[in-house]
Symmetry: C2
């Protein structure tokens, strides 16, 4: 029961939400996402991101197309499907509710 571990637990579910948002803004591939998440201090490693993307694809929320790169192997560029966009709207509401509820608990005044 240490801080690091709790942070990991807090991240569960949120990562999926963040990734969906990043993809919703335009075609991106894994390294783009890692860079953006790192830039806002959400540290994520490949071993977390790739399985997550696979889950999202299997659930029909995202799709990808291979794009040649001129500086390495080809990349998978992701976009949201229609179902993905719908789901993202629901995630927005779910997340806001949760933050709201937590706020009520943690800023309770007697």
């Amino acid at each position: 029961m240490n801080l690091e571990n709790t942070l990991v637990q807090m991240r569960k579910g949120i990562l999926e939400y963040c990734i969906m948002h990043i993809i919703s803004r335009g075609e991106v591939y894994a390294s783009d996402m890692l860079e953006e998440l790192t830039s806002v201090k959400i540290m994520v490693v490949e071993g977390t991101l790739y399985p997550l993307l696979t889950r999202l694809r299997k659930a029909g929320l995202v799709e990808y197309k291979w794009v040649e790169s001129n500086s390495g192997p080809p990349r998978k560029y992701y976009t949201l499907t229609d179902a993905g966009n719908d789901f993202l709207l629901n995630l927005d509401a779910t997340w806001k509710d949760l933050v709201n509820s937590t706020e009520k608990i943690t800023s309770f005044k007697n």
Copy 2:
């Protein structure tokens, strides 16, 4: 990959944070906590709460004393230990950081 499941995942770690906050405000027992969490629309069941309280106690963050009830069996009234108070301060910072980071991602404007 459905909303309900994602909500469950989002709650991981947050529940611990909320419980710590509730206990920090004064002596409470399990039903008090359930009631307060329910009142802000965070649905929690006993099978989640009791193991969590046991974890917190084993980690030395909370302690309890038995108190007789005049309307049923005795209750365990919980309070934070000194270590628990310290940990709660860290949780506050961790949670704020996470919300902040998520905010940056989800309200990104091009």
